[in-house]
Amino acid sequence: MGETAASLRFDLAVIANAIADRPGLRALDIGCGDGALMAALRDDCGVDARGIEIDSGLVERCVARGLSVVQGDANTDLAEYPDKAFDYTILSQTLQTATRPDLILGELLRVGERAFVSFPNFAHWRTRAALMFGGRMPVTRALPVNWYATPNIHHVTIEDFRDLANEVGARIGRSWFFADERPISSAGANWRAEFAVFELSH
């Protein structure tokens, strides 16, 4: 309880701040985890937040904090939501785990007027260096799990993401980049950023 935007993970804090001044807005957090962002959106911003989460233990924690969360799979269950049911759909650090990121991206903007997508950038210099000099699949701070155990089955770079957005007809609005969990400028972001957050619309 009492989750505030200030105590959120950096990418979630950016999303909470970006819609902080829009009470009554409807948001769907896909892969909402323990509901930290949803609770902050509800408590600090008056947002009507809903969630989807695949892990029953995490859904339990969300329900126990009074959030409306449905246990389900982002890969299949978005299809059950009507068009433009939400002002915002949110996909934080989940895109790279999706079976078909391209289809998910399309669904985000079918179900929501706008979408926030955050993901670890595979083209960060640390990842590039690990592959170039180590010759093995990188295990870094941003991507801490070995290739055989990682849930990240579709690694993506900032430039790849821009291309995909373009391909599915999504317009990129605001964007934020992070290294060492701190915001950095967009200059050379595909080298410098460990994580990126994009706002999308049609």
Binding site: R26, D48, R50, S56, G57, V59, E60, C62, V63, A64, R65, G66, L67, S68, V69, V70, Q71, G72, E80, Y81, P82, A85
Partner: protein
Amino acid sequence: MAEFSPSNLCNLPEPLVLDSGQVLSDVRIAYETYGELAPDKSNAILICHALTGDQYVASEHPLTGKPGWWERMVGPGKPIDTARHYVICANVIGSCMGSTGPASDGGDGKPYAMRFPVITIRDMVRGLIGLLDQLGIERLHAVVGGSMGGMQALSLAANWPDRASRVLVIASTARHSAQNIAFHEVGRQAIMADPAWGDGDYYARGETPANGLAVARMAAHITYLSEEGLTAKFGRRLQDRPDGTKGAISFGFDADFQVESYLRYQGSGFTRRFDANSYLYITRAMDYFDLAQEHGGKLANAFRESRDTRFCLVSFDTDWLYPTAESRHIVHALNATGSPVSFVELSAPNGHDSFLLPHRQLDSIVQGFLDG
């Protein structure tokens, strides 16, 4: 069935106009309450019972002397906290624990028996709404139900959307499947095939169709358990013989296997507390239940006016009576209407009955949902 006196009785001032078009007059609702009603009447939780349940959710059953059927969930400091909430649990019409049913006086000094009108889940809820009106409770903090209780909770939400702020539905469904109906039909046929049933007019004769009712209960009981649960509990283990022999088959038709003995015990115990005709009427009501069909064939239509109601659905992974897909079906309809809904499938070994058994995650969800 023995005689008993329920503690609270409410006589509905108006007759109930039923889905069949028939009218049920002089309706009596037997109910129990726990906790204190707040002065503004905002803390009432209605718990709806299942097929063979009753109003004794958290107090001793007057016939069996057993604890309430959900005592682990309902009480002071428990997930449904009677220290803070006023909990109401009423016997549904058609049943046999004090509310008007087939064993009640049909107006001519004789029991209704099969003259009792066929009722639906919505008719049961009409009776419950009548009770809430008499108690002066306009809006429930929550309506809660498992199994058939969940059907009533859904029916209340769909047909009286302004009467509950929260709707908690556990191990339930929005419609009875062919398989559900099939199992119920086996039970009904077992009762009606018992010579003692005599077209349902057995009340004066003193002999009840206990054998048929016991078989109905045995068949139904299998559907409440999982194969995994049955195997763990009984396996192929044999019963000790009356002559003291252990672990030997009898080459006869006594209850050789422990699972047979268990079912027989469940069946015969049930006949001491339940009326066979009530079993016919209530199973019929469940079979008729199809919330979508009541609302133009589209389940989402049932929840068109429920946007201010919070829903929570819980299923169990080993429940093959009302499997997870049925709960998901309801969740999708609620998503389509934009109603706030939570859903979780819990892992539990005991099939449909899991909702009555200890489950830490269930407790946490129930408490969190009711407090949120």
